[in-house]
Assembly symmetry: C2
Homo-oligomer: 252 residues x 2
């Protein structure tokens, strides 16, 4: 097997370019890094174009069909977006947008402009854990194929539909099915514990600083919040999302 020893190799340069959203969209590709995530993309419905590793013995068993390239430790360091590279990454094709049809008993997480990659990734992981049907990313939300988002999802990005969409249309689709849409707002609405668990629902959560946009709060059926008892001004958005999703799903 050929070993790539130069950072000028086209594959190395491509991988580095894919750290930028525009380049991912132009090439139709994204990168996952680390053994666990490479295993996840191989297991799920993701087209893996290339596996790049420092050590070909360290490749998940189910990699049949994917091209494998060996690189030196130095080149891996160049390509990696982490400080301590795990020695393996995969270049994958961006999946086609999955078609999601709102179902009466489905549960949906609508994300309005969350900016922090760690927050978005953690929210997708939580949505997966609680068994949400789909996550819809409204305008202004960080790209889910950003390397930090992918890492924080711990693979959940490949477990459920995570798609970009116009929240207006999605709110309408829920209304058409009589699914309650809950907005979240720190300053107005109902304490979440006053709401019972729901068979089907949509929850809208918003940007770290600005929260959910007023226009969505007006279109929701009810706005809810997690009460604050101490001196914190607010909760981290991914923590609040976890508390609300589990509450809406679980009490029954």
């Amino acid at each position: 097997m050929n070993k790539i020893e130069s950072a000028k190799n086209p594959l190395v340069k491509l991988t580095k370019r894919l750290q930028k959203r525009k380049q991912r969209e132009k090439e139709g590709l994204f990168v996952v890094e680390g053994y666990h995530l490479v295993e996840e993309v191989l297991q799920h419905d993701v087209e893996v174009q290339e596996i790049i590793t420092e050590d070909h013995k360290n490749i998940p068993a189910n990699h049949a069909g994917a091209r494998v390239s060996l690189v030196t430790e130095q080149v891996m360091k160049e390509m990696s977006s982490t400080e301590t590279p795990q020695g393996i990454l995969a270049v994958c094709r961006l999946p086609k947008t999955q078609e999601v049809i709102v179902q009466k008993k489905g549960s949906y997480l609508f994300i309005d402009g969350v900016q922090d990659p760690g927050n978005l990734g953690t929210m997708i992981r939580t949505a997966d854990a609680v068994g949400v049907s789909a996550v819809i990313l409204g305008e202004g939300t960080v790209d889910p194929y950003n390397d930090k988002v992918v890492r924080a999802t711990q693979g959940s990005l490949f477990h459920l539909p995570v798609i970009k969409g116009d929240l207006e249309e999605w709110i309408k689709a829920c209304r058409n099915k009589n699914i309650p849409v809950f907005g979240t707002c720190v300053t107005q609405g109902t304490t979440h514990t006053a709401i019972e668990a729901q068979d089907g629902f949509a929850l809208i959560v918003g940007n770290e600083g600005a929260g959910v946009q007023e226009k969505w709060l007006e279109q929701s059926d009810q706005n809810i919040y997690v009460p604050i008892y101490g001196n914190a001004e607010s909760l981290n958005v991914s923590v609040a999302t976890g508390i609300l999703l589990y509450h809406l799903k679980l009490s029954h």
Copy 2:
């Protein structure tokens, strides 16, 4: 007012050194960055030694007594631990360890080896929000005065006692007061929703990979977990902590 224009200035060098835990402990100092956090330390019981800013008009009103130094934008960039500095930071004295006495109706968060600064900071913020009495950091937990932890707490670090301690002693102290101690474990125990809200309690949460150490799980009264319905292997520890703290506090 004198303007510091050189990165070799002793104050600049000190501030940079304080990014390291050992140096913080040696000097007995730590740094907070950004207008909001500088405001928080000035409002709370923290001794602020020095405020360093690019623009002296941009200092919280209540800074009486603190020394102020002006620096150039370039020097601020040198000192800052963020990519986009907010133009203000403060050098503060590490607070003396607060004495915390376990109370029958108190609620306590015991943290066993959480490594990620963002996770620890978010957990302290959540503990503050829910009104926890104190957060105890067991061995192997990241230093709460790490700049990323301080930032993620959004000031909550200064709202409630956050102290390092021997979890064994703290578990004993809770037992002596008949306060139930809940361990958390993904693979054994009781679903959290089977537990009622508690007047007083301690919750032990653990390291991102390894979880809570077996020895603490053995010493707890009961071990609980947040159920997973989808394909995620686990929840992020700060999300799980939020769900559990709100559940233990709130249902009554």
